[in-house]
């Protein structure tokens, strides 16, 4: 009942308000008292300011609409430049409460207002707001990240340089990488091929690049041992890079004659089409060793289980957290996350690569300390406020917007 009464009142009110708008001769293009008479909603609280963190040439406008009155059918954004000439720069559908004027010139002071249109005529108008557009040199929310990144880069470059100068660096055993030789050797003994799958991502993916570097090492091994190396790829660019890298590996091993370009072939860009094709290669060529290194999505287990079923030794590695469990379950050795990136350094033992590993460790140490100090500060901060603000500071340091 209560609702019904309210509903009736609303109906009456809106009928009263709407009737004049439907009258046969609406007033034309007057922004006068008529606006108040008809109560078309107007924009209020109009604010204009330079669009933050951009390359300039843009002013951001925000406003609210009045809640009482008749809804306009569209809004117009009017801009006047210092000479006083006013122009309509944009007509927006009703409902907008924000607009970026991307045609502003840097350094010019513009004055804006928003008008409400109904049936093609101007019915209401907002107050004016002024702003000057300018360009910024930095994203403020990314300064913390920039500092950390520069520090990290410096540390990595430092260790690379110092190891180039002959400083001996220790590197721990990585389970799985020691097995590369055995796997290739076994394939040779059995007279079966080695299958190398560089993931399904394109060449811009760092995991693919890491995988391609390892492929170079594996190619050298297969060339030395004299076994066949098959590389089906799911991306054209990866195929051509793989051809180049494998050829180089055979060359370094002194067996350029054994290199066969046809063994490195493109299948299809399609995720599951690729999986179907590789599964076919696995069951028909029956490789003795399978390498699955790079970026993998759901096809990871389709490949690993089929490889398992043909009795191959499998070495997998990926930084995709969601796929690692499947590799752990189905493969003999799994490189987890960062180990994939460490593999090229480990296999080559080149000082500059080892140096960069050391740099990575330093960066991790930094984050470990940051977390530990942050957690301690936040925990004690619950009881002693100075530490709370310190914890907040640390959190802000790692906040990126």
């Amino acid at each position: 009942m209560k609702y019904l009464l309210a509903f009736m009142t609303v109906l009456l009110l809106s009928a009263a308000g709407a009737a004049p708008a439907d009258s046969p001769d609406p007033p034309e293009n007057v922004v006068t008292e008529a606006a108040e008479e008809f109560q078309v909603r107007r924009a209020i609280d109009l604010e204009a300011s330079d669009t933050p963190e951009d390359a300039g040439g843009s002013v951001r406008l925000t406003w609210r609409m009045e809640t009482e009155g008749i809804a306009p059918d569209s809004l117009g954004v009017l801009r006047s430049d210092p000479s006083g000439a006013e122009e309509l720069i944009k007509t927006l559908p009703e409902g907008f409460v924000m607009y970026d004027d991307d045609s502003a010139e840097d350094g010019t002071e513009y004055s804006y207002r928003i008008v409400s249109y109904l049936d093609g005529s101007t019915e209401a108008c907002s107050d004016k707001a002024e702003a000057v557009s300018s360009a910024q040199w930095i994203y403020h929310g990314r300064i913390g990240m920039m500092i950390i990144l520069i520090l990290m880069g410096a540390v990595i470059v430092y260790y690379i340089e110092s190891s180039k100068r002959g400083k001996k660096l220790y590197i721990r055993e990585i389970a799985g990488l020691t097995a590369v030789d055995d796997a290739v050797g076994r394939a040779t003994e059995m007279g079966k091929p080695v299958l190398y799958i560089p993931g399904i991502a394109d060449m811009d993916d760092i995991q693919t690049i890491a995988s391609i570097v390892i492929l170079g090492r594996v190619a050298r091994k297969t060339a030395e041992y004299g076994s066949t190396l098959l590389v089906p790829t799911s991306r054209s660019v990866v195929m051509s890079v793989a051809q180049e890298v494998v050829k180089e590996g055979y060359l370094q091993a002194g067996r350029p004659d054994a290199y066969n370009r046809e063994n490195i072939q493109y299948l299809t860009d399609d995720q599951f089409g690729y999986a179907a094709g590789v599964d076919g290669i696995m069951v028909r060529e029956k490789p003795a060793a399978i390498f699955l290194l790079g970026t993998f999505y759901a096809e990871s287990l389709i490949l690993a289980e089929t490889g398992r079923s043909v009795g191959a030794i499998q070495l997998a590695g990926t930084a995709m957290p969601s796929q690692i469990p499947f590799f752990v379950a189905a493969c003999d050795y799994t490189l987890i996350g960062e180990e994939l990136f460490a593999a090229s350094a480990y296999l080559s033992r080149e000082p500059k690569l080892l140096g960069s590993l050391k740099g990575q460790d330093a960066a991790k140490l930094f984050f470990v300390i940051l977390i530990v100090v942050g957690v301690i500060a936040a925990t004690i901060g619950d009881y002693w406020s100075p530490l709370k603000s310190f914890a907040e500071f640390l959190r802000k340091l790692v906040t990126v917007t």
Partner: protein, 279 residues
């Protein structure tokens, strides 16, 4: 006996394949429905929160998904809306995804018809607005400024049930049915953290793991994760042969089969190890 167990341990994987196939095909063919008891899970938390709302509470339901995730999210939407109607809540629908508006309309009008609820008095659908998180912040100061009309262009002032709604704080609960971005995370950060509105969520199974953190911190009052969450809510509300409850039967049987195999594998493993030790 020992020989049999050993053989089981090394059984041909094709036997597993056949059993998995059967455990899916049979429940589907016979339209099997299994009981679905709901433990102390995030889905029960959400149900109990809704159940404890006073009559006439305003609840905002945001339909932030599209047809591709309908199998998981539509049953949730229907069960939640049904429950809200049963609790005599005022249900206001909206969407952060363009196609969510009409999916929400389907769920609400379907449930409203079955309970005799009236559009504009018991429920309404404000429709879709672009802007994600930024738009949600605007809802915090005034909803009618963002949605001057509902989905079908009925002005705000002509909808009786919206009379006592001004901003987000007018709502006792916001539920986002979220398939990704923009979705529940925007609601938590913008509506929950900034304006203190309680937030509940229904999401796909894929995105559920990363959302558990927000339950732990109390930023969400409850959550429905994937088909299981949908089935839980259907059970709690009392929809006995809901879409999700039916979908759970093949899931349950297949899970049981896999677990059975894990047990067999371990029994075989240990019996083999014992034999090896005796030698």
């Amino acid at each position: 006996m020992a020989g049999l167990i050993e053989k089981l341990g090394n059984m041909d994987r094709r036997i597993i394949f056949v059993l998995i196939a059967l455990s899916v095909i049979i429940p589907i063919s016979f339209n099997l429905i299994l009981p679905n008891p709901v433990g102390a899970e995030p889905s029960r938390d959400l149900f109990e929160y809704v159940d404890a709302l006073p009559e006439g509470s305003n609840v905002l339901v945001s339909f932030d998904y599209d047809p591709s995730t309908m199998p998981e999210l539509q049953p949730m939407a229907e069960a939640i809306v049904l429950h809200l109607f049963k609790r005599n809540a005022n249900v206001v629908g909206m969407a952060l995804w363009p196609q969510g508006a009409s999916l929400g309309q389907d769920a609400m009008s379907h449930m409203a018809d079955s309970l005799g609820k009236v559009q504009y008095e018991d429920w309404c659908n404000l429709g879709y607005k672009t802007g994600g998180g930024v738009m949600i912040v605007r809802l915090g100061s005034s909803i009618s400024a963002v949605f001057p009309t509902d989905k079908d262009n009925v002005p705000w002032s002509e909808i009786p049930m919206l009379r006592n709604i001004t901003d987000l704080q007018s709502f006792s609960l916001v539920i986002s049915l979220s398939a990704g971005d923009p979705g529940i995370i925007a609601w938590i950060m913008m509506a929950g953290d900034r304006f203190g509105v309680p937030i509940g969520c229904g999401c796909t199974a894929v995105s559920a793991p990363q959302l558990y953190t927000y339950l732990q911190t109390g930023q969400m009052v409850g959550m429905l994760g994937g088909l299981k969450g949908a089935a839980d809510y259907e059970t709690l509300v009392g929809i006995e042969d809901g879409q999700a409850v039916r979908g759970m039967a093949p899931q349950s049987v297949a899970h049981l089969v896999i677990m059975l195999f894990i047990v067999i594998g371990n029994v075989a493993y240990f019996s083999q190890k014992k034999k090896g030790g005796a030698r």
